[in-house]
């Protein structure tokens, strides 16, 4: 007999007591109850996927400052060596990514270089589709890799939402599942039950009628609905409790992206069984990563937002001892051309770096840095298939079976301390 955290709460407090109590419970009490819970046997790792829409310029993100080709190809866009956050004798992070540099030093950030796939697609839609389906050979594939992952672990006895998309944009195709319903949310409120007008506080804390026992043992669907309704209301109240207590304590920069990260952190803290979070960073009003002209300033702002927001997220989780359960990965549909294009911008490219952040990383730069002379149509070549990154997070982190999701076994990367 082992306890999950939720079983513990039920056993310790009694479900109905907790339900009426959770929203009013002081934060320290909720936390101490959660901290006292034994580790669950089942995996409860969380994956956060951050999509950088538009095609991020990998070379001006993780900069090969010692390579003469970099400066030669980037007369106006090259970043001054002395301003870079050097991570070794060849590479440095963009000047506005100081927060990422600190995460890197702390071992909470890894950089996988040269990630891509054969015959790179240079159209936004086509390339993004490939990253979402994880199937470059079937452009008509109708499910996303995360959608398939969710379907592959479906279990009718587990009625937690398996994954959510957090943000104001349309849900990316990567979450498209054949069976599962994957919600999009803008804020925690979307996962909390509202209350009909006119309930006094006294009434609202009474047991909801939906939670009352049913006589019918003959209909399996009714039992299922009863169980899932109770679970849904419990989860809602856990989110409510966390939203009330933790909202103002963690420090996040006042950026749209950071706001989404705060929401994700609160959902992780609420412990409502969501294993996968997906977010899109497409600029938020300052233009996305697709910088064909005057790239420098825009790109600065984007990378600054990204690194500050991720760092705030990591520190928030670390403070609550949750970071060890969380792995974040970024991706973009492609990198950009080595040579700038005469309009202080760059063209659509191929391979680019992928960032991993979390508490269980080995750290460091993964894989050799891509050559700036041996190119794929003007852009850095890939050496690590993006599906190896997917296989890593599926097999080694989430404990899913990547082979059923990706149709064959890709070799995972040796990046995690698990």
């Amino acid at each position: 007999m082992f306890y999950t955290r939720r079983d513990f709460l039920k056993a310790a407090l009694g479900t109905s007591t907790l339900l009426s109590f959770a929203s009013a419970a002081p934060n320290f009490l909720v936390r101490s109850v959660m901290a006292a819970a034994p580790r669950r046997k089942e995996r409860d790792t969380v994956l956060v996927v951050v999509q950088l829409s538009g095609g991020n310029d990998g070379l001006n993100t993780v900069v090969p400052y010692e390579d003469d080709e970099y400066a030669r190809n980037r007369p106006t866009l090259r970043l001054p060596t002395k301003e870079l956050h050097k991570i070794d004798s060849e590479m440095g992070l963009h000047p506005r990514m100081g927060a990422f540099a600190r995460l890197y030093k702390e071992g909470h950030l890894s950089i996988v270089q040269g990630v891509g796939y054969p015959n790179s697609d240079r159209s936004h839609e086509g390339a993004m589709r490939i990253w979402h389906t994880a199937d470059p050979d079937q452009p008509n594939r109708q499910t996303g890799w995360l959608g398939r992952a969710i379907d592959s672990v479906w279990n009718p006895n587990k009625t937690n939402a398996p994954a959510v998309f957090v943000g104001p944009t349309a849900r990316p195709f990567g979450l498209n599942a054949e069976n599962a319903i994957v919600p999009s949310i803008r804020s925690l409120r979307d996962l909390m039950t509202g209350q009909m007008p006119g309930y006094s506080n006294d009434q609202s804390q009474k047991k909801h009628a939906a939670e009352l026992p049913r006589a019918d043992k003959g209909n399996p669907l009714l039992g299922f609905l009863q169980h899932s309704t109770l679970n849904a209301y419990t989860n809602s109240r856990r989110i409510e409790a966390v939203a009330k207590t933790a909202a103002n304590t963690a420090e996040y920069p006042s950026l749209a992206l950071a706001g989404s990260f705060r929401t994700v952190a609160q959902l992780i803290r609420a412990d409502v069984g969501i294993r996968i979070f997906f977010m899109e960073f497409s600029g938020g009003g300052i233009g996305g990563f697709d910088n064909h002209a005057n790239q420098l300033g825009n790109h600065c702002a984007l990378l600054h937002q990204l690194s500050e927001s991720v760092a705030a997220f990591v520190h928030d989780l670390k403070r609550d001892k949750l970071l060890d359960r969380v792995l974040l990965m970024t991706f973009s549909e492609f990198g950009r051309t080595v040579k700038e294009n005469g309009r202080r911008g760059t063209g659509h490219g191929a391979a680019a770096p992928v960032f991993l952040a979390g508490g269980k990383l080995k750290g460091g730069l993964i894989g050799p840095r891509p050559s700036l002379t041996d190119l794929d149509n003007g852009a850095p070549k890939f050496h690590t298939d993006f599906r190896r990154v997917y296989a890593t997070v599926l097999d080694q982190w989430l404990g899913f079976e990547s082979r059923t999701v990706l149709d064959r076994q890709f070799e995972p990367l040796d990046v995690l301390n698990v």
């Binding site: 479906w154 939402a161 054949e178 039950t193 049913r214 019918d216 069984g273």
Partner: protein, 475 residues
């Protein structure tokens, strides 16, 4: 209290049918014979509610009462072949769609409005069935006009001929674009349509080979969608001999449709799928039950006849079917709207239903909405709760279109308590066990909240309690 309410049908709560009925459930002869009420399976409010949940999108009080006095078979007659001028109603709505349908967002709102107002809800129920079956996705087709015509096509054959429907589907630009089959060159046969035809639309996996798909693709050569128009270019048609599912000839696209319809697997697959939609989704039906219906369906592919057999049957009115489906989001929301006799903003509703996982005009994959238990998770249940709240609260995006107290008064209730009993019968037909029922009714009896509550507010909250019960999610 002036209202006459039927006693709740106790036999369902214990999950027991009569001993004689139990033995007969697996007997196809008895299962598909027309239901005649008797002591074990009486015709009552619960059965009427069941019928309207499956053959329509729920019912209002008058419809339930009319059904009680009409009896089952007459009620089914009216659902299958209503007296109203259906053609005129649908023509009018087609025109509304055409005049404003610049996007699938407005199309889905119009469709929901049509479902609320139609005199022929079974037609819309079956149109929705075919929409999930063919699963054309507007986000991929990117042409609202073609999507509009596609759903009109589904509606025109929804209770008609599956043969005619399938043939029209094979020439439907929306479907061809959706499947990536808009170019079918002789030199480069496109297998996308042929594969979906065999796998998803007719035979099902395991009843055809890759070679059948390849050969069928050759028969479809010559058909193109150019600028949203279907075109046949005869020099692009491969007129040579093909071998498809054991038949040999210089087949055309129509021949392929004929050949797949001749395969017994096709009618079996369709009957099974309709069984899941109209009767029960908890267990795979015994092949013995499916066989007689499949044989009969294969003769003429008359959908109306098949639907009619299922709806009239003993099986349909047995415990095998009763509450053995989970409502899709459309059924969940419209069950509330229909019961309370209102018309709400369907633009808002279409978006809220999309958030619940059912985005009309955009099914997730070629397999349509899987549904069943997949509709339900913590997030979707919270959203069902919140959608019901938005519909019932009397203000906000849905305004004050639904008013449970006013509806109850209209049907003769004069006190909050009688109105509460009325709502229980309207929405659940007394399916609840006495303990749950009593606990709910106690809320009405306890003195109103501190805010000096009026009956309208009390009944809104009560209606919300009912439609968020686990029981209400079951069709």
């Amino acid at each position: 209290m002036a209202v006459q309410i039927d006693k709740p049908p106790g036999q369902y709560q214990s999950g027991q049918a009569g001993p004689a009925a139990s033995e007969k459930l697996g007997d196809p002869g008895w299962a598909w014979a027309a239901y005649q009420p008797d002591a074990w399976q009486p015709w009552n409010l619960a059965q009427a509610g069941h019928l309207f949940r499956r053959a329509a999108f729920g019912a209002d009080w008058d419809q339930l009462q009319q059904a009680l006095s009409d009896g089952p078979q007459r009620t089914i007659d009216k659902l299958l072949r209503p007296q109203a001028n259906i053609a005129a109603f649908n023509r009018e709505h087609d025109e509304y769609e055409s005049s404003t349908a610049s996007s699938t967002d407005s199309l889905r709102a119009w469709w929901l409005r049509r479902i609320i107002q139609t005199p022929h809800p079974l037609l819309e129920k079956m149109t929705l069935f075919w929409h999930s079956h063919f699963a054309a996705n507007g986000a991929k087709v990117k042409n609202a006009r073609l999507m509009q015509r596609h759903v009109q096509l589904l509606r025109s054959q929804a209770l008609n001929s599956f043969r005619a429907l399938l043939k029209a589907i094979s020439r439907d630009p929306a479907v061809l674009i959706w499947l990536g089959a808009e170019a079918n060159r002789k030199a480069l046969p496109n297998e996308n349509f042929a594969r979906s035809l065999m796998e998803a639309f007719t035979l099902g996996a395991g009843h055809y080979t890759k070679k059948d798909v390849r050969e069928a693709a050759r028969a479809f050569t010559g058909w193109f969608v150019l600028r949203g128009q279907l075109r046949y270019i005869s020099r692009e048609h491969d007129g040579n001999v093909k071998q498809i599912l054991g038949q040999k000839g210089n087949f055309t696209s129509d021949d392929v449709v004929r050949i797949v319809l001749e395969q017994p697997a096709t009618s079996r697959t369709l009957v099974r799928k309709l069984y899941r939609w109209l009767i029960c989704e908890t267990a795979e039906p015994d092949p013995k039950l499916i066989a007689p219906l499949a044989q009969s369906f294969a003769k003429d592919y008359d959908v109306l006849k098949l639907v009619e057999t299922m709806l009239r049957s003993n099986l349909f009115f047995s415990r095998v079917a009763y509450r053995r489906r989970i409502k899709c989001p459309v059924e969940f929301a419209l069950g509330i709207v229909k019961g309370l006799e209102g018309v709400v903003s369907t633009t808002q509703l279409a978006q809220d239903l999309a958030d619940l996982g059912q985005n009309l005009y955009s099914p997730p994959t070629v397999k349509g909405w899987t549904g069943g238990r997949h509709w339900i998770n913590s997030a979707t249940l919270v959203r069902r709760h919140n959608l019901a709240m938005a519909l019932l609260r009397g203000s906000g995006p849905y305004a004050n279109k639904l008013n449970p107290w006013a509806v109850a008064k209209k049907h003769g209730c004069s006190t909050p308590e009688s109105a509460a009993r009325f709502l229980l019968d309207l929405f659940l037909q007394g399916d609840l066990g006495p303990d749950v029922r009593d606990a709910l009714l106690k809320k009405i009896q306890t003195p109103a909240a501190a805010d000096g509550d009026d009956p309208a507010g009390t009944l809104r909250r009560f209606a919300h309690e009912i439609v968020t019960l686990p029981d209400f999610h079951l069709a």
